[in-house]
């Protein structure tokens, strides 16, 4: 182990003087970082990755909670199903206990040992009884009913959960905007708002909202959202992009208005 440590350090020391970036590259990266030229799916992925590091628990807590909830749900479901489906009951009793009670046709019930009323020596003489019982048709029917109701519960839970992950929803919205499918974009953005209101990609969601409204020339709504965005995310990398989107929306709106105004006299 120690040999490996020394050898590893010695070998890795050859990487201590790896070449750095050229001054042009240094300036280029800085400009790109400051200009907020952050568009594209790869950035979304990176922002998620970065968030997990930066918030030292914040981001991972969100993901962790979701995972925990999912695991909890799965465990409960597994327990529920385990208690419903199956073929026989094994009841282990000791001594002169009461007759076995059937709970379901699959569950393995091991009765807890009660405190012995006899002395330890007497207890040794009590034989261990294992009784195997089977289910009646009535009990099977009951268990089937229970199983059906638990399936319904599963369906209900699925309805309340998001269709996909936070990142996927944002990517769907982005793709829909690119394809000029406003309805799909709005659906995705609303879904994100509903399930990940304060998610790690909330900033991206707002950017996409503004982008969508700007493209549809809904100027006042885009401006309102942009104002809220700048208040909520001061110094955002997307600021430049949003400003240019709003400017473009203004132009679109003015053009649209000019076209409408020019048509009005002719129509009258």
């Amino acid at each position: 182990m120690n040999n490996h440590e020394e050898e590893s350090s010695e070998l890795l020391s050859s990487l201590s003087n790896l070449p750095g970036p050229s001054p042009q590259v240094v300036d280029s990266i800085l400009k790109r970082s400051l200009a907020g030229a952050v568009v594209g799916a790869s950035v979304l992925a990176q922002s998620e990755a970065g968030a997990a590091v930066v918030s030292s628990g914040g981001a991972s807590a969100t993901a962790g909670k979701a995972l925990l909830l999912s695991l909890k749900a799965k465990t409960l479901l597994a327990l529920g199903l385990f208690s419903i489906a199956g073929t026989g009951v094994y009841q282990v009793t000791r001594g002169n206990s009461e007759s076995p009670t059937l709970v379901s046709d699959t569950m393995v019930i091991v009765q807890p040992l009660e405190a012995p009323s006899q002395s330890p020596l007497e207890e040794k003489e009590v034989p261990l009884q294992i009784e195997v019982t089977t289910t009646t048709p009535y009990e099977t029917a009951i268990s089937n009913l229970e199983e059906r109701s638990s399936t319904q519960k599963i369906k209900t839970m699925k309805k309340e959960s998001p269709s996909s992950s936070e990142r996927e929803i944002i990517q769907t919205a982005r793709a829909a905007i690119s394809a000029s499918d406003s309805k799909a974009a709005i659906r995705a953005l609303k879904e994100h708002k509903r399930f990940y209101s304060r998610g790690e990609l909330a900033e991206e969601r707002e950017v996409l909202w503004i982008s969508l409204l700007s493209r549809d020339a809904k100027l006042s709504r885009a401006q309102k959202r942009a104002t809220r965005f700048f208040a909520r995310f001061p110094g955002s990398l997307h600021s430049t992009r949003i400003k240019s989107e709003i400017e473009a929306a203004k132009k679109k709106y003015e053009n649209k208005k000019a076209v409408t105004d020019s048509k009005l006299p002719g129509q009258q």
Binding site: M1, H4, E5, E7, S8, S9, L11, L12, S13, S14, L15, S16, L18, G20, P21, V25, V26, S28, I29, L30, R32, S33, L34, V38, S42, V43, A45, Q46, S47, A49, G50, A51, A52, V53, V54, S55, S56, G57, G58, S60, E203, G235, S236, L237
Partner: protein
Amino acid sequence: MEVKQAIRTSPVTGKFDFEEVYRDNIAYLWRTLQRLGVPPADLEDRAHDVFSIVHRKQDDFDQERAIRPWLFGIAFRVASDARKKAKHRETHELGQEHPDSNQPHDQQSIKRKMVMTGLAELSLEQRAIVVMHDLDGYTAPEIANELQIALNTVYSRLRLGRARFVMAVRALDRGED
């Protein structure tokens, strides 16, 4: 070994000075990305990804902490994400030089190439921990904190990664594939 400390705040404003942090750490980050196996052609884009995240998250950064482990953590996740996306891992094996790169074939560069090939044998998690510990000189608790993994996992990955790395380099040295 790398110097751990770096300027974190502007001496004038006392706030996180992005440009200063960038200038102080870009060379370190560049080398870190190389050590994590990012191909030379992708270094600029990955460095940009890292600093985009840094810029976005600068307000969340705890200024009492050293910045380089934080940067390393981000670089690790960026490299990890890039590796997952790489479709042709065999041809673009992370950490290997491009076949057409004009590297001088001196003793130092041969050894460096051997080390990079040895590191490429490790998983990215093992690789990051070995580099952080044996090259950058971070302690195991620091690594556990930055990579958000259990301390015992750090020790385990370090031990296994180190052994695998050394064995791989030894095999290369003997001329085995």
